[in-house]
Amino acid sequence: MFEDEFKKDSDVRRGKYTTVSIPITLYNRIKELIKDTGFTSVSQFVTYILREVIASMEREKLESSMISEEEKKRIIEKLRKLGYI
């Protein structure tokens, strides 16, 4: 069949992981901390924390407004016409 020419889901590698190093003392500290918390491994915890921190750092890096004054005026005018303002 025609569609057999294309890659299927199962052909694509999934769940790719890589290794980073952390001090063994930190590792043990985390291991102790996450006991009975729902986190099942140090890696899972570290991933969770990194995502949380990185998302907030990325947000801070953004400029406050991405809309030009001209665009803003045009939108305000439309919102007035529609009765939103």
Binding site: M1, F2, E3, D4, F6, K7, K8, D9, S10, V12, R14, G15, G38, Y48, I49, R51, E52, I54, A55, E58, R59, K61, L62, S64, M66, I67, E71, K72, I75, I76, K78, L79, L82, Y84, I85
Partner: protein
């Protein structure tokens, strides 16, 4: 301050001015693929940044990551694949790298750059997205009936489709300006596909007590048989807001997007979409985006734990009910009374009153809302 867009970039792929004139000419010469209203709505939503940071339909890498990891290939949270399905015979003359014109009712909607053509396992899709393969799940039936191949790549929007609710439709860039103009710093998004009964109103007002503004954003477009028609929902909210909400606390606008009935995954997706509209909070109720008994009542709350980087705060608000002893709307956490005092308001109960054209009790639905419903010969989708 309004939320930053998802992936920190509000997408705009709406082509205007001379570039649009030029691309409209070009579109005439390109191979065409006719798409459904639902897919046309997705195309338009992508272009207006509703699905930011997506710039087009997903290529395979994003698709697979979303399916299995609930994240895009750049690690940004994303739970529902945004895909374009085609028949193999529709694309015999098309190869990766080509530009094509997406049409709806033969009108050009967008130009799409085909980055990738790939196969998909619909059964696996259903298992991952719906946690079900049972054909009684409306999402499963719909998915299994879709076409055999997927095409992925960015789009450039040339034309909108006809929108009967034009006066109620705002795009993310517009709600962002609006929320700022209103000086709202915290905004709770409310997703709905129903006419509002008192239970919904209680949840909305519980949220509104803690935030500056409420963004009521019902979905219009494909829903299952027996759901309320779009026009009924829009008109019902019009009267509810007019009579029962402080004027400066609400923004109401519709979003043309299909319901997937994917429960927890769709709850996260709904939150991401409202984040793009500028919401800082999103109300997740009981059995959010669920259907039948496919998901546990509060399963949609659990899934949010997996996304510390979502960038919008879920508001978990319990199901409310009327308690005869409390004499008002309450929830499990604040009412000490037994079950026989509690009256749960459900869509099913409301439906019975509607079908009999019988006035429901005041604690069930506002009289103005009920009047609107009854003004339709048949308020339900057939």
């Amino acid at each position: 301050m309004v939320s930053k867009p998802h992936g920190n970039k509000l997408i705009n792929r709406v082509v205007v001015g001379r570039r649009r004139d030029h691309l409209l000419e070009e579109a005439k010469e390109l191979p065409r693929i006719e798409i459904s209203e639902t897919l046309a709505a997705d195309t338009i939503n992508i272009a207006h940044g509703v699905y930011s940071p997506l710039e087009g339909f997903m290529t395979q890498e994003d698709y697979i990551h979303v399916l299995h990891d609930m994240r895009l290939s750049n690690d940004i949270p994303w739970t529902i694949p945004i895909i374009l399905d085609v028949n193999p015979e529709d694309i015999v003359d098309i190869k990766e790298g080509d530009d094509i014109t997406l049409t709806h009712n033969n009108k050009p909607i967008a130009i799409m750059k085909i980055e990738e053509i790939y196969g998909w396992d619909k059964n696996e899709y259903c298992k991952q997205v719906f946690k079900a393969t049972d054909p009684t799940h409306p999402g499963v039936t719909k998915t299994m009936g879709r076409k055999e191949l997927l095409i992925g790549g960015p789009i450039d929007l040339l034309n909108d489709i006809y929108e009967p609710f034009e006066k109620y439709r705002l795009w993310p860039i517009e709600t962002r300006v609006l929320f700022e103009a209103k000086r709202w710093r915290t905004i709770a998004g409310f997703q709905t596909r129903n006419v509002p009964h008192l239970g919904h109103e209680y949840v909305q007002k519980a949220a509104l007590t803690f935030v500056d503004g409420l963004f009521i954003n019902p979905l219009v477009g494909w829903k299952k048989r027996g759901d309320f028609k779009d026009e009924v929902i829009a008109r019902a909210y019009e009267v509810l807001i007019q009579h029962y909400f402080p004027k400066d606390s609400i923004v109401f606008s519709v979003l043309r997007m299909e319901m997937r009935y994917a429960g927890p995954r769709e709850a996260v997706f709904h939150a991401i979409v409202r984040k793009n509209f500028g919401c800082t909070h999103f109300i997740v109720g009981r059995d959010h985006a669920g259907v039948g008994n496919f998901y546990k009542p509060y399963e949609a709350w659990e899934i949010f734990k997996e996304f510390p980087d979502l960038g919008i705060t879920p508001l978990f608000i319990r199901e409310s009910f009327y308690c005869k002893k409390c004499g008002g709307f309450v929830n499990e956490k604040i009412c000490p009374h037994s079950d026989e005092n509690r009256i749960r308001i459900s869509g099913t109960k409301l439906r019975r009153f509607i079908l009999r054209k019988e006035k429901p009790p005041e604690y069930m639905v506002r009289p103005e809302v009920f009047e609107v419903i009854l003004s339709f010969d048949n308020p339900f989708i057939e």
